[in-house]
């Protein structure tokens, strides 16, 4: 077995060949599929639980208190305890609710985030699907979640839920544009939409350094729009606790509520992972051209660690935003998107195209 933390492709090839040696090709593919499914499921659960814990700790840090500290050392088992509790909570069927759509909504939000996770390159050779339209696919899939949110609000037969869902719809579709345009800007620089090639292109400098000013503008816009797309504060109008109780998931109890909660955190992870891949070089270590000794030291750290550290840094930025700014009103929210971010973004795209044409980027 040739297991290496630096290149997972030999590891997956080894699994593939040993499976093919012991069974027919059809079965080998089926077993591989099941293995990938289980691996992604486990990863999904661990990251989800960790992020909920991290958010509560970061929030506590910002508000100068301790946060969860009773269950396990430093409260690390708090989210697991919460999850077990939620599993044993009654699933209340609401009177006059649209039962079919009500039950369908959690499926949609979770499946959308699952399909996005599969396309994210965690390390060299550690990517379930490497599509040649990777960036486009991620944008398309991550915006499917809004259908689940709209269904949840509509089917609940609750006025707060409906208002929350409508706000969420307007907000997500608006900020979708900024996410898309910011990523197009980076695709211009990269010249490809395949995520593995985008990372390969950042071997001698991450795109946020290579594209200097337009890349930094694109990153700032992407973080703002990404925060809005995941319905997180300061853009959490869809579930504004003080006005709408819980917005679109008011009527969801027990584990169904947990699915929405989990999907929110996984969407945050996906947004951060895309930012890492496109702006910060994904799993590519920090290299400086010509500094061979320095590069060798950087190469020593496994790519998976690089990827996770960068991703959690971006997630920390998003948590910082949430716990720093007050919630926007819906008119401010739409003004920010349509009158500021969108024109700036279009101009930024042209600026980036001009830089790439004239070779002013590094």
């Amino acid at each position: 077995m040739k297991f290496s933390l630096y290149d997972f492709s030999s590891f997956t090839a080894w699994i593939d060949s040993s499976l093919r040696a012991s069974m027919s090709p059809g079965w080998a593919v089926a077993v591989e599929m099941i293995l990938i499914g289980i691996a992604i499921l486990i990863f999904y659960a661990i990251v989800g639980l960790f992020l909920v814990y991290a958010e509560r700790k970061v929030c506590a840090l910002m508000q100068n208190r301790l946060g969860p500290n009773r269950v396990g050392p430093g409260g690390v088992f708090q989210t697991i305890a919460d999850l077990v509790k939620l599993l044993f909570v009654e699933l209340v069927p609401i009177k006059n609710a649209d039962r079919a759509l009500f039950n369908l909504a959690p499926f949609i939000v979770i499946i959308a985030s699952f399909m996005a996770i599969g396309a994210i390159p965690f390390a060299k050779g550690l990517q379930a699907i490497d599509l040649n339209i990777g960036v486009f696919y991620l944008i398309a899939i991550s915006s499917m979640g809004v259908i689940g949110v709209l269904l949840a609000g509509w089917a609940s037969n609750n006025k707060y839920s409906l208002i929350g869902a409508m706000r969420s719809g307007a907000q997500i579709v608006s900020y979708e544009l900024s996410v898309g345009l910011a990523l197009v800007t980076m695709v211009v620089l990269a010249g490809t939409m395949q995520l593995s090639e985008i990372i390969e292109g950042q071997r001698w400098g991450w795109f946020i350094f290579k594209g200097h000013i337009p890349a930094v503008i694109a990153f700032v816009i992407y973080i703002i729009a990404g925060t809005a797309e995941t319905n997180r504060g300061p853009f959490d109008l869809a579930e504004a606790e003080s006005e709408l109780t819980a917005g679109y998931h008011t009527e969801y109890s027990g584990i169904k509520f947990a699915f929405f909660f989990l999907a929110e955190y996984m969407n945050m992870f996906i947004v951060a992972a895309i930012a890492t891949t496109v702006f910060f070089g994904g799993w590519m270590p920090f290299h400086v051209y010509g500094w061979d000794g320095f590069n060798a030291v950087m190469d020593f750290v496994p790519p998976l660690i690089w990827f996770l550290v960068k991703t959690f840094f971006v997630i920390f930025l998003m948590m910082w935003l949430k716990w720093t700014f007050p919630r926007l009103r819906i008119d401010q929210l739409l003004t920010l998107e349509w009158k500021y971010l969108l024109p700036i973004n279009i101009f930024n795209l042209l600026l980036m195209a001009f830089l790439v044409l004239t070779g002013l980027h590094w």
């Binding site: 593919v29 599929m33 990938i36 499914g37 992604i40 599993l87 044993f88 009654e90 209340v92 069927p93 609401i94 009177k95 609710a97 499926f107 979770i110 499946i111 985030s113 699952f114 399909m115 996770i117 599969g118 379930a128 699907i129 486009f136 509509w154 609940s156 037969n157 609750n158 006025k159 707060y160 208002i163 409508m166 719809g169 307007a170 579709v173 979708e176 544009l177 898309g180 345009l181 695709v187 010249g191 939409m193 109780t245 008011t250 027990g254 584990i255 699915f259 008119d331 739409l334 003004t335 349509w338 009158k339 969108l342 024109p343 279009i346 795209l349 042209l350 195209a353 790439v356 044409l357």
Partner: protein, 116 residues
């Protein structure tokens, strides 16, 4: 392999949610009280139907979104070949974006971007 993996991810998500829901349905307790199944609106009995008309502003933004989202779909293939095509691609996209910018300017002028 890629297309199968997409179906696989879809199924994994669906099976995961389904199994957890079934498990929760088995282990979770159940009780019946008539008021428990009412929609929660801060304790007051809900009045009238929920599914009524809502602010037309949302509709306007949905239409604007459609225009600009389709624009972004067109921009993606352009972005990948920009480097090879050079100046021609750049000038063409400037024209394309100018036409769309006119649309945005029109919506702006007509106060379609102002929330009322």
């Amino acid at each position: 392999m890629d297309n199968q993996a997409l179906v696989l991810l879809f199924l994994t998500g669906a099976i995961f949610v389904g199994l957890v829901l079934v498990f929760s349905g088995i282990v979770a307790p159940r009780s019946f009280a008539p008021q428990k199944f009412d929609p929660y609106e801060c304790g007051i009995p809900t009045k009238g139907t929920t599914w009524l008309q809502f602010n037309v502003g949302y509709y306007l933004f949905a239409i604007l979104f459609l225009v600009f989202d389709v624009e972004i779909v067109f921009l993606f293939p352009w972005a990948t070949v920009m480097k090879e095509m050079g100046m021609v691609a750049f000038i063409e996209i400037v024209v394309f974006i100018l036409i769309l910018g006119l649309g945005l300017a029109y919506a702006w002028k007509k106060h379609a971007l102002t929330w009322e």
